[in-house]
């Protein structure tokens, strides 16, 4: 608060260090992790580096909680660190922490030299916070790029696997198109209103809702952000990239990138161009409906779990977009609540995928789950709960997430969109339950003959890290993968993550109030909405 008062008589942007302390923590953490990664000792690389990354994320989370409720605008109105930003920050941080845990024994950080891998991860989180808090067109673009570029690299970190490289390249190309479109759109919006700050844009938009320049700009912005949120018809990259990227990164992208994109969509549409809502709301509503259908239909028949979850994520983005369309605080609350529980359900599901990928050598094929229910309750239950929660079964958090979103839609006259969410959920049963039945109702010997265990990872480019070749663990892993057997590995952090997230899904399914209270604060941050 004091910073705002001082801002009047001090030249140059006054920096409210306390307000941006989560960002500072991440920058500092990223530097520290990068330095620590240079140390040759394996203990430092394998253990200290991820622990440092976790510490940086923990600090950022702690500082977000400490500044909760301050609701200040920082750096001359470039961004707002309000409860909405902080809520989303917690989501990003939690997703990144989950990704660190899933990466702990993964190949990707080993091949990318540990330090760089985790530094990139922290940088992505930084970009996401900037994006979610942006209240200026320029900040939007900076955040967008800061989040995208490290992610392109992270997707390609398993550099001995063709699919990973392909995934990174694909993401780079399509992501750049998205960035360019967004930038173009932002330029048009600036051209139409003559302002880059959201308040200025909002004031300008008031009396020009039919302006062609503005409408073109809005259309480009929608497209650019829709790429990131995987909203149909801009979602085509999602399944390919998700499938090819290292699974921990897929888990992180599925949750955090979506949350960041929806965060900026909320702030841009429900704050900056709220005056033109009569023009964009029907368009976004249509996109939401299309996304729900495309995502749910696309997921049916996928046998790769990562592709299945990618399409499921597309559908879920459609549900959440419905909360943005309604332009009410209730809608915003419903979206951020859904994002938080979406984090829990997806992390639980991906933890199991990661665990089984390492154990079976079947990759992320659905048959890797066969027979889990019989002897692996700690993997079977998290997967089951995650799927039931994503489908919106009662006594899981997904149920109230849907109730909240439907309520928000109905409340502001979008009953048809509420019904659309319901129809989408009905379709989604077809694939979520397939996963559940794979866990509980199939025996391991039912695997189709067509599914052959993947061979050991092939070197895709010459001169990759030599570490992977010499590492006895990696060699043993390759041998096991080649044999195709499912052996229990010691990976408590992966199983623990799955169990904790699943337990939280059930807890919030029975008693969602604590999370709803936080969502309430986040929604209240957008004071221009009712």
């Amino acid at each position: 608060v004091s910073a705002v008062l001082f801002a009047a008589d001090v030249k140059g942007p006054a920096i409210d260090w306390m307000a941006i302390s989560p960002l500072v923590a991440l920058v500092g953490g990223a530097c520290l992790v990068l330095m620590a990664g240079l140390v040759r000792a394996p203990f430092v690389r394998h253990t200290v580096v991820p622990l440092l990354a976790l510490a940086a994320l923990g600090t950022a989370a702690g500082l977000s909680i400490a500044t909760w409720g301050d609701n200040v605008s920082v750096i001359s109105g470039a961004m707002r660190m309000d409860d909405l930003t902080l809520f989303l920050t917690l989501v990003f941080v939690a997703a990144a922490a989950g990704a660190v845990l899933l990466s702990w024994r993964a190949i990707a950080p080993r091949e990318a030299g540990h330090g760089e891998y985790y530094t990139l991860l922290l940088t992505v989180v930084l970009g996401m916070i900037v994006l979610a808090g942006a209240t200026n067109l320029v900040t939007v673009f900076i955040g967008y790029e800061l989040l995208s570029i490290p992610l392109y690299v992270l997707c390609a970190t398993e550099m001995r696997r063709e699919r990973s490289l392909e995934s990174g390249l694909k993401y780079l190309i399509i992501g750049s198109v998205g960035s360019a479109t967004l930038l173009y759109g932002l330029a048009f919006v600036y051209g139409a209103t003559g302002e880059t700050s959201f308040t200025g844009v909002a004031a300008g938009v008031e009396d020009m809702s039919g302006d062609v320049l503005l409408l073109t700009g809005l259309a480009f912005v929608v497209a650019g952000l829709a790429f990131k949120a995987s909203v149909a018809p801009f979602h085509q990259w999602t399944p390919d990239v998700y499938e090819g990227a290292p699974t921990p990164i897929t888990a992180f992208m599925a949750v955090a990138t979506k949350a960041a994109a929806l965060g900026v969509i909320i702030r841009f549409f429900d704050v900056a161009v709220i005056g033109a809502s009569t023009t964009w709301a029907p368009a976004l509503a249509t996109l939401a409906a299309i996304t729900i259908v495309v995502g749910n239909v696309g997921a049916i028949g996928q046998s790769s779990l990562k592709r299945l979850l990618a399409y499921s994520g597309v559908a879920q983005a459609g549900y959440m977009l419905a909360g943005v369309v309604v332009t009410t605080q209730l809608g915003v609350r419903a979206v951020v609540f859904y994002l938080a529980i979406y984090l829990l359900m997806n992390m639980a599901a991906f933890a199991v995928v990661v665990a089984r990928e390492r154990e079976t050598g079947l990759g992320d094929d659905i048959s890797s789950l066969y027979g889990l229910g019989a002897d692996r309750p700690l993997l079977a239950w998290p997967m089951t709960i995650a799927m039931l929660s994503l489908a919106g079964f009662p006594a899981t958090a997904g149920f109230f997430g849907k109730v909240y979103l439907i309520g928000a839609a109905v409340n502001n006259g979008y009953t048809w969109l509420g019904v659309g969410i319901v129809i989408g959920s009905a379709i989604s049963l077809a694939y979520y339950l397939r996963v559940v039945s794979a866990v509980w109702m199939r025996a391991p010997d039912e695997r189709a003959a067509g599914v052959v265990p993947a061979g050991p990872p092939r070197p895709a480019i010459a001169g990759g890290s030599t570490e992977a070749d010499s590492d006895p663990d990696a060699v043993a892993a390759s041998a096991r993968v080649a044999a195709g057997g499912g052996r229990r590995l010691i990976q408590p952090e992966v199983i623990g993550l799955g169990v904790v997230c699943a337990a939280a899904s059930v807890f919030f399914g029975v008693y969602p109030s604590p999370l709803l209270d936080l969502a309430q604060d986040a929604g209240a941050a957008l004071t221009n909405l009712f």
Partner: protein
């Protein structure tokens, strides 16, 4: 006596969960104890219940999710009192069956799902908040999905798929409708069923909300055009599970009409009365015809349940007359009481004859007179033999209907006759005739008698005293039925808080 409904509600789940952590042999016993405690509680409630009041009793009303206006409200009145008792009784019988004949593998999970199922069903019966009701209504599906999928017959995966997709499509639409009901009626401030029953909704809103709720309930029952999931599910469900599934879950749907649809959407109920009666009639005729052409004993009972549920729907939508709805309520309890033992009997016959096909059963009666006699008693009750409580139930339903829709009542009458045809056909084929080649006939042993005999005794007791159920439900039923008729009946009876 202070009765805490939460204890009655969660005891089965709590003990079944504990059973999941206990050694294998103990798990079914824990399930049984949980069910029996709930049964004891329910019986206590039957005696303690204040007959003549149409208000909710033993109400638990706590804040739960204030942000959404959702409260944790449980209550008992004449509508659900007997259904709760029925649920606890039949789940206890099933639990006892599981103790005596545990499944081959994963006993602990099996017991856990049964406990979860009991809690979900009881919750759906007791919930007095619309969202809470929907939550329990959908939750009921989860344990049965796993029970069929893991311990079911050869086509179990396909069966679970159909079961879940059919029922959840209905329930999800109901979820949207429930949220919309609260938000349209009072801006989402409260989802209390009692408060929503004021009738503040416009007729057009009521209509689509009615359709969504009715669809969910008709699928769950199931009623004629929505019964596609039933044959596969019935064929593949383990029998002790099927006993409670068929006896209790369909009743939740019928009860939903009385608890939610009639009071909250009175105008739409009036509008759709004829349609609902026609669907009910179609269910009776179609299902009866199916029941006497099927040869699989499970399916005969499945279709007979569809027909019975048709009768119950007729009674509910007779409107205007409390007799119809009272008969429906009585018939819900009756049908639950007869259909559960029938499924246990099928299990016993299957053990003796090696088949669930009535063509391959026969002749058991000579060597197993006790079993056959019990079967006969239950079969006669099912076909509504005069003197049975089922007779009283069907009589009341038709009485209510005669006064409002004469033609439909006359056609429905044929359903009563058809019921005797298919039940007697099943009985005669199954236990009479020559002894078939693969049939080993030996009589009921004590172990199986422990489950069956008490249930048959309850049927007999209920045949003598159906008045008990009618008395305690009368006031509530009159209030519910009065809503679509414009509240006249309430005024006549002078029911006040």
């Amino acid at each position: 006596v202070t009765i805490h409904l939460s204890i009655l509600l969660f005891f089965p789940l709590a003990l079944a969960t504990l059973g999941g952590l206990a050694p294998r042999a103990v798990a079914p016993l824990m399930l049984l104890v949980g069910s029996l405690v709930s049964l004891a509680y329910a019986v206590l409630m039957l005696f303690d219940f204040q007959t003549g009041s149409d208000r909710l009793q033993y109400v638990t009303d706590d804040k739960w999710i204030p942000d959404l206006g959702v409260r944790y409200i449980l209550g008992v009145d004449g509508l659900n009192l007997w259904l709760i008792a029925l649920t606890t009784l039949l789940f206890s019988a099933s639990a006892l069956w599981i103790v005596l004949r545990p499944p081959d593998d994963r006993v602990k999970l099996y017991a856990f799902y049964m406990g979860l199922a009991e809690t979900a069903v009881l919750g759906a019966f007791m919930a007095q908040d619309l969202i809470l009701f929907v939550l329990f209504f959908d939750l009921m599906l989860v344990p049965f999905y796993f029970l069929v999928g893991q311990w079911g017959g050869p086509d179990r995966v396909a069966a679970t798929f159909k079961l879940v997709v059919y029922t959840l499509v209905g329930s999800l639409l109901m979820l949207a409708a429930a949220v919309a009901t609260g938000i349209t009626a009072n801006d989402g401030e409260s989802f209390s069923i009692e408060r929503l029953a004021g009738g503040t909704l416009s007729e057009s809103a009521q209509r689509w909300l009615f359709v969504a709720f009715a669809l969910a309930f008709l699928i769950k029952m199931p009623a004629f055009p929505f019964h596609g999931w039933m044959p596969d599910a019935y064929r593949n469900m383990p029998l002790p599970v099927l006993a409670v599934f068929s006896a209790v879950l369909s009743k939740v749907a019928a009860y939903g009409f009385l608890r939610i649809v009639l009071p909250i959407f009175p105008d739409a109920t009036q509008d759709f009365q004829t349609l609902m009666l026609l669907i009910a009639l179609a269910s009776i005729l179609y299902a009866s015809a199916q029941a006497f052409t099927q040869t699989n004993a499970r399916l005969i009972l499945g279709y007979s349940s569809v027909a019975q549920l048709g009768f119950i729907t007729l009674g509910i939508f007779a409107l205007g007359e409390a007799a119809g709805a009272q008969g429906a309520l009585l018939q819900m309890v009756n049908h639950g009481l007869v259909v559960a033992p029938l499924f246990f009997i099928i299990a016993l016959l299957q053990e003796r004859t090696g088949s669930e096909d009535i063509r391959e059963m026969s002749g058991v009666a000579f060597r197993a007179p006790v079993l056959s006699s019990l079967f006969l008693i239950v079969a006669l009750a099912t076909l509504a033999m005069p003197g049975s409580a089922n007779f009283a139930g069907e009589f009341l339903i038709l009485l209510g209907l005669f006064n409002t829709k004469l033609v439909i009542a006359i056609i429905a009458f044929t359903g009563v006759a058809l019921a005797s045809v298919y039940m007697l056909r099943m009985f005669i084929r199954a236990v009479h005739n020559r002894v078939g080649p693969g049939v080993k006939s030996f009589d009921l042993n004590v172990r199986d008698g422990l489950v069956l005999v008490p249930l048959v005794l309850v049927i007999l007791a209920f045949a003598v005293y159906p008045q008990q159920a009618l008395n305690s439900s009368e006031a509530s039923v009159e209030r519910v039925v009065a809503a679509p008729a414009g509240g006249e009946a309430v005024a006549q009876n002078g029911v006040t808080p």
